[in-house]
Amino acid sequence: MAALICEVVYRGIFQKNLAARITRGIVLSARKSGRWGIAFGRYGDSPQRNGIPAKDFAIVADTKEELEQNMARYEPKHVDVTIAVDDTLSKGVESWAWYGLQPINRLTVPNGTLLMTSVQSFDSLLRDIHKKDAPYKLALLRAKASFSGLWVYKEDHTEVRILGALAKIAPSFLTLDGVCEAIKEIEWGSDLKVESVKKAYQRLESREVKLTEGNVEIPYSFEMPKWWEMREGVTIPAIPVGKPKEDGKGYVPERNPYFKKFTTRTMRPVIDFDTCVKCTLCWIQCPDSCFDVMPDGTYDANMEACCGCGVCEAVCPVEKCITMVNESVFDDNASQWEMWRNDKEGYKAWMTEKIGDKNATVRSHGFRFRGQYEQELEKNLDGGGVEITAGIPGENAQHKTI
């Protein structure tokens, strides 16, 4: 009697088809060794939004009874393998359906495995991944996050590479032969994908994570009110009017204290306050009202409120004044404006390094020009499938295309 429970933590919309393929692949692969299984999504995660952390699950078990025993919950309370298909999820997740920030390894059982696609080092990831009160394994598949759209999947083999890695992690449930056999039969399978499974199986990197390792930050959380503590009439207090930043100058809006949204972000704007012309466009166009107005009239993107959509970068009329940079190269949500105010030269050096990192400034989501998808697919699929190609159509396209 045994069961294998897996969760796939993914970015809403961008990876929903990827996650569904992975969980489906787990069940069909385990079926090859006579297991029963189910693949399902956390219904509360819908309606999905671009980039919002969401979850799919796969449970496989020896018997139907054991499968039912594990299914009789809205979502599993513990998982043998947590699969994170974007390494920026390592900072923790705040789903539409959850409350507070949840460490990415929260459901992973002691001595279980956290499997991630990443090109970061183990140590770099463990600066973000929260400390856990039990040892576990961190397994890495070398790949960039596979992002696409609502109805499509980027055929970069990420789904089968995850399955190949799982054959290494949980061989008693998913044999390599079982996975390869299943892949060929699944509607999206192919011989080329079977090759990718085998390579991923061989190349998986893995190491123990000790009790002492990890980000020591205590994730924010709050108590849910009792029914008689809640306001009646399906009403909630409006967000109050904000306050000046300091000395009666600037403006910092009040924000929802219960839903911060920043774990939706895969890229963040890095701002050059020296070249800002105070045109207000970023502040006005930001769909999440994430910009605080500073006393000097510049705009600081509040990193607890920014979803990383990149609209500010697109509307900014000044060259390289706002540049979107991958979330993986940042360790905290500190104010850029405060950094700049305290040490202008130091900030300049920091900013130049961030926006000069060609790997980190590749757009993580969305296609920036017609034909980008085809270009990316031509590249070596083993390397994650994505070559550095970026750029924004329109007047800003030239200088922002690398």
Binding site: P225, K226, W228, M230, R231, V234, P237, A238
Partner: protein, 410 residues
């Protein structure tokens, strides 16, 4: 267009007697309650109410926003929103018109909007028919609407005033539908006592939406999206409001009697000759009239028959009704509605009463009758037949667990 000069209100403490229909009686009450917003869309028989209100406004007796919507859905949406900004509102419909507003009707209770509506009961199409059936109003019985049935023009007038008092009580804040049988009540004029405004003012306080008022000085968001982590708590709140309505209804009727010097001691149901009755019939609305006449005929022949006419269906007066009914030797529940495929194929009221009696120490045999659908006349013969079957059940000590259709060609 003739210029209408508003008549000065009579400075009198006396009630005045008018010959008015149930619909006009409701309009009299709305004028006395000084409603702020009313929306209208015609459908028979409710349309008589909207016409009566329009006359009140054009005659200068009532100052209110009168909005003709493009359909019932908007009709109920408009008053729902008006109520959240503090307006006292009125709305109404009938049959499939009420059904067309359903999306709005189901969200009104969780938003705790004390909308008062008149449902002129009408058979659901198809077939297109104007006559009374109670299925239209009953459709909202599970979702948090307060529901009551009225019998006379006087009760229409009095209940409308009581409705605002109950619905707008901060402990309740739930929508309230007053059901009036199409034709029999909405279109029949009867002598009705209309109280002076001064009395009404002593009975009915201003609508104060308090902390739920949508206003720039009270910034709130109404009806945000929520998931499974919030919904059951919201339902639990709704349930509590419905439970609290019991006390509020009893308070309101007691106060009504104090101020107006009339009205029932028991708000929940009328008991007619039930004290020594072996057979008690139960029904809602104007069906009481043929039943009462039949009971008098039967009593003259020595048959001990009584009637319980249910006024309040939500909240359902479970304990009081069980106490009143369990003393009989047999019960006959006469539904002017149907519930196809329900237990025993009975009507809605019969099944509610069966459920209410389940834990009673004494459960008389209960017979279910369906009768008067689509506005068909309920004849004395129908009632006699029901009583005969009930008398047989009383003698046998058990019911046949069947549902009897009365007055159907067979």
């Amino acid at each position: 267009m003739a210029v209408v000069t508003p008549a000065a209100p009579a400075a009198t403490e006396e009630d005045k007697e008018l010959l008015i229909s149930g619909s006009e009686a409701v309009a009299e009450s709305l004028t006395l309650a000084d409603i702020d917003v009313v929306t209208a869309y015609p459908i028979r028989p409710y349309d008589t109410v909207m016409q009566a209100i329009a006359k009140k406004i054009s005659g200068g007796q009532l100052v209110a926003e009168y909005i003709v919507a493009e359909g019932e859905h908007s009709q109920f949406e408009i008053v729902k929103h008006a109520s959240t900004v503090g307006a006292r509102v009125f709305c109404g419909s009938s049959g499939v018109g009420w059904m067309y507003a359903m999306e709005c009707l189901v969200v009104t209770p969780p938003l705790r909007v004390p909308m008062v509506a008149l449902v002129g009961n009408r058979a659901l199409d198809d077939p297109g028919a104007f006559g009374v059936e109670h299925n239209d109003a009953l459709v909202v019985r599970d979702v948090g609407w307060l529901l009551c049935w009225i019998d006379t023009s006087q009760e229409a007038l009095d209940t409308t005033l009581i409705a605002y008092r109950v619905a707008e009580d901060r402990r309740v804040f739930l929508p309230l539908a007053i059901s009036a049988d199409g034709a029999f009540l909405t279109h029949s004029q009867a002598l009705t006592m209309v109280p002076p405004k001064s009395k009404v003012d002593r009975f009915l306080p201003r609508y104060d939406r308090g902390d739920l008022l949508l206003h720039p000085d009270n910034p709130i968001t109404v009806a945000p999206q929520a998931n499974e982590d919030w919904v059951i708590e919201i339902r639990r709140q709704n349930n509590e409001a419905m439970a609290r309505a019991v006390t509020v209804i009893e308070e309101a009727y007691a106060d009504f009697r104090r101020v107006f010097g009339r009205g029932p001691e028991n708000p929940w149901f009328e008991e007619y000759m039930t004290d020594d009755a072996d057979v008690i019939l139960v029904g809602m609305g104007t069906i009481s009239l043929p039943i009462k006449v039949a009971i008098r005929e039967l009593r003259a022949k020595g048959k001990k028959v009584g009637l319980v006419r249910l006024r309040w269906f939500r909240p359902f007066p479970t304990e009081k009704l069980v106490a009143a009914l369990s003393k009989a030797k047999a019960l006959g529940i006469i539904d002017r509605d149907y519930s196809f495929g329900s237990p025993f194929g009975s009507g809605v009221v019969a099944n509610e009463i069966r459920a209410a009696l389940y834990n009673a120490d004494r459960r008389p045999p209960l017979l279910s009758f369906i009768c008067g659908l689509g506005g068909r006349e309920v004849t004395l013969e129908d009632v006699y037949k029901a009583v005969d079957l009930c008398t047989a059940a009383a003698a046998a000590g058990k019911s046949d667990a069947k549902t009897h259709w009365l007055g159907v060609r067979e």
